[in-house]
């Protein structure tokens, strides 16, 4: 299923905030149909990387190519090119209802007739959202908002789905469900770039992984290799009872 055809290629990306160089000379690629996972400590630059792809922060230098074509610099154009992000910290539209939030996710789509169907699909992924569809998103619980953020990103039916810590604040049972769903979404042809603290589960789900440290790529490789790597194990996977 891994077609080896690159979907997204990043070359020598640099991003700075004032004097802080958050992403340094970073190169990575994601092939069509892959799930790629980026792990790293707090402040490693993972979110910055995601935001740079989406055009939410300014790229200082470097190229990003989507299917061989340069990726736009403005976020709305990036979305139009088929990339969508579930951002860190959820960022749901608080005063809009759950339903309206999901419809915002579908904003760039032209195929109106399929939107209803996808809405049902998202509701089936997260039944809680259906229950709460007319509640203002701002009053949802943390986990419910997270579900909404993921659902909203899915509603655009992207080629490439970016998820910044999707498991943040979710109950264990939901995390399992979500990871299972991600696998299924992926098998339906959506390529996924995932940033996770829940590194072990994320790597188990992914094909390949990158380890980020202070803005630079420290390691990369097939997910199972990283899982087995003692250094990675010690630094990022933790020795938990689970």
């Amino acid at each position: 299923m891994n077609s080896k055809e690159p979907l997204l290629v990043i070359e020598n990306l640099n991003v700075s905030y004032g004097a802080i160089r958050a992403v340094r000379n970073l190169s990575l690629h994601i092939d069509k149909g892959e799930i790629v996972c980026v792990i790293g400590a707090n402040g490693a630059g993972k979110s910055t990387l995601m935001n740079a792809i989406m055009g939410m922060v300014k790229r200082q230098s470097g190229n990003i190519l989507l299917e061989g074509k340069p990726l736009a610099e403005k976020s709305y154009q990036v979305v139009a090119q088929g990339v969508s992000l579930s951002p860190e910290g959820r960022k749901v539209f608080a005063p809009l209802t759950v339903y309206e939030n999901l419809m915002m996710g579908a904003f760039p789509r032209k195929d109106r007739e399929n939107i209803e169907r996808d809405l049902e699909w998202v509701y089936s992924l997260f039944p809680r959202l259906q229950e709460r569809r007319n509640q203002h998103a701002g009053t949802l619980s943390g986990g419910e908002q997270q579900m909404l953020a993921i659902g909203r990103a899915l509603m655009s039916r992207p080629k490439l789905l970016l998820l910044d810590e999707p498991s943040l604040g979710l109950a264990p049972i939901i995390i399992k469900d979500i990871f299972k769903e991600l696998k299924r979404i992926n098998s339906e042809g959506v390529t996924i770039l995932l940033v996770e603290q829940n590194a072990k589960q994320a790597l188990m789900l992914s094909h390949r992984g990158y380890v980020l440290q202070t803005g630079e790529i420290l390691m990369e490789g097939p997910a199972h290799e990283l899982l087995a790597n003692p250094e990675v194990e010690a630094a990022y996977l933790g020795t938990t009872k689970h």
Partner: protein, 293 residues
């Protein structure tokens, strides 16, 4: 009784002019969440364009009105592009926008002081002002009826647009968070431009009505303060609120002046504002979304 009816009619007619202004202001507020003090400037621009085209080019009111609406709409877009866009792209602190808008309002006012002089002008009587008798007991003018109808029609269309279309939804989403709206594929700049254009058009209509009903001069924009107050009473960002607030304000002014004391008119306006807000801190129609902690 007759006096009461007359004052009510006076109040409604004043209120409808406020409404035209308040709706445009509220529209901008609903998306960028700041009080655009330059709105009064768009009004003045619309008024002057209409005036000069009527006076010098001798065009008819429809042409002049259209030109004024276009002109004010485009000026509104330009104002946004020049003065607000750089700010909102940098920061989400709306206070900066508010100050910039005050600056812009000073700039626009003084451009006209220089170009057109400070003189008071009036549109030729293109809009019928002849008295119309209401039920045989009170008098109003064609003009007032027209302005009330115009306000209601514009508002109705806007309201439909906002609640029924996906662009309307996008406006409300962008109102909450511009950056994340961009993340949804909304071309935020275009969206904001559209909003400003509509606001500018509304302001021009208000400006034409104001300069025909009253007079045209560079400081005419000051009247928008009353319209702002009306919008706040109605609930910022709520278009029906803007209209209802305007009518209430118009009525309050006229009834106070008529039955209590004309000097107390503004005092009552401010009291009304404050009392309304104390009872309903986000205005009559404003939604009070309690922040979740």
């Amino acid at each position: 009784m007759q006096t009461l009816l007359q004052q009510i009619i006076n109040g409604l007619s004043l209120g409808s002019v406020y409404a035209l202004i308040a709706v445009g202001y509220s529209l901008v507020y609903s998306i960028l969440l700041f009080s655009n003090f330059a709105h009064g400037g768009f009004l003045v621009i619309g008024g002057y364009i209409c005036y000069f085209i009527l006076r010098t080019a001798g065009a008819n009111i429809w042409v002049a009105g259209l030109a004024a609406m276009l002109g004010a709409g485009i000026s509104a877009i330009l104002t946004e592009r020049i003065a607000y866009k750089p700010i909102r792209e940098r920061t989400n602190i709306t206070l900066y926008l508010l100050i910039a808008s005050m600056g812009m309002s000073i700039v626009i006012e003084n451009i006209f002081v220089i170009l057109a002089g400070g003189r008071f002008r009036a549109l030729p009587p293109v809009i019928p002002t002849k008295p119309v008798n209401v039920l045989g007991v009170a008098t109003t003018s064609m003009f007032d009826i027209l302005s009330l109808v115009t306000a209601v029609v514009f508002l109705g269309c806007l309201q439909l647009f906002l609640t029924r279309t996906k662009w309307g939804l996008a406006i409300r989403a962008a109102a909450y968070d511009l950056r994340v709206a961009g993340l949804m594929g909304v071309n935020v700049n275009r969206l904001v431009s559209i909003v400003f254009f509509v606001a500018g058009v509304l302001a021009a209509v208000g400006g034409i009505f104001l300069s025909a009903r009253y007079t045209l001069y560079p400081q005419l924009g000051l009247i928008t303060i009353k319209a702002f107050i009306a919008a706040v009473i109605g609930g910022l960002g709520s278009l029906p609120g803007a209209v209802v607030g305007s009518l209430i304000l118009g009525l309050a002014e006229m009834l106070t002046a008529g039955f209590i004391s004309s000097q107390m008119r503004d005092l009552v306006v401010f009291l009304l504002l404050i009392v309304t807000l104390l009872i309903r801190p986000s205005g009559l129609f404003g939604k009070e979304v309690k922040e979740k902690v």
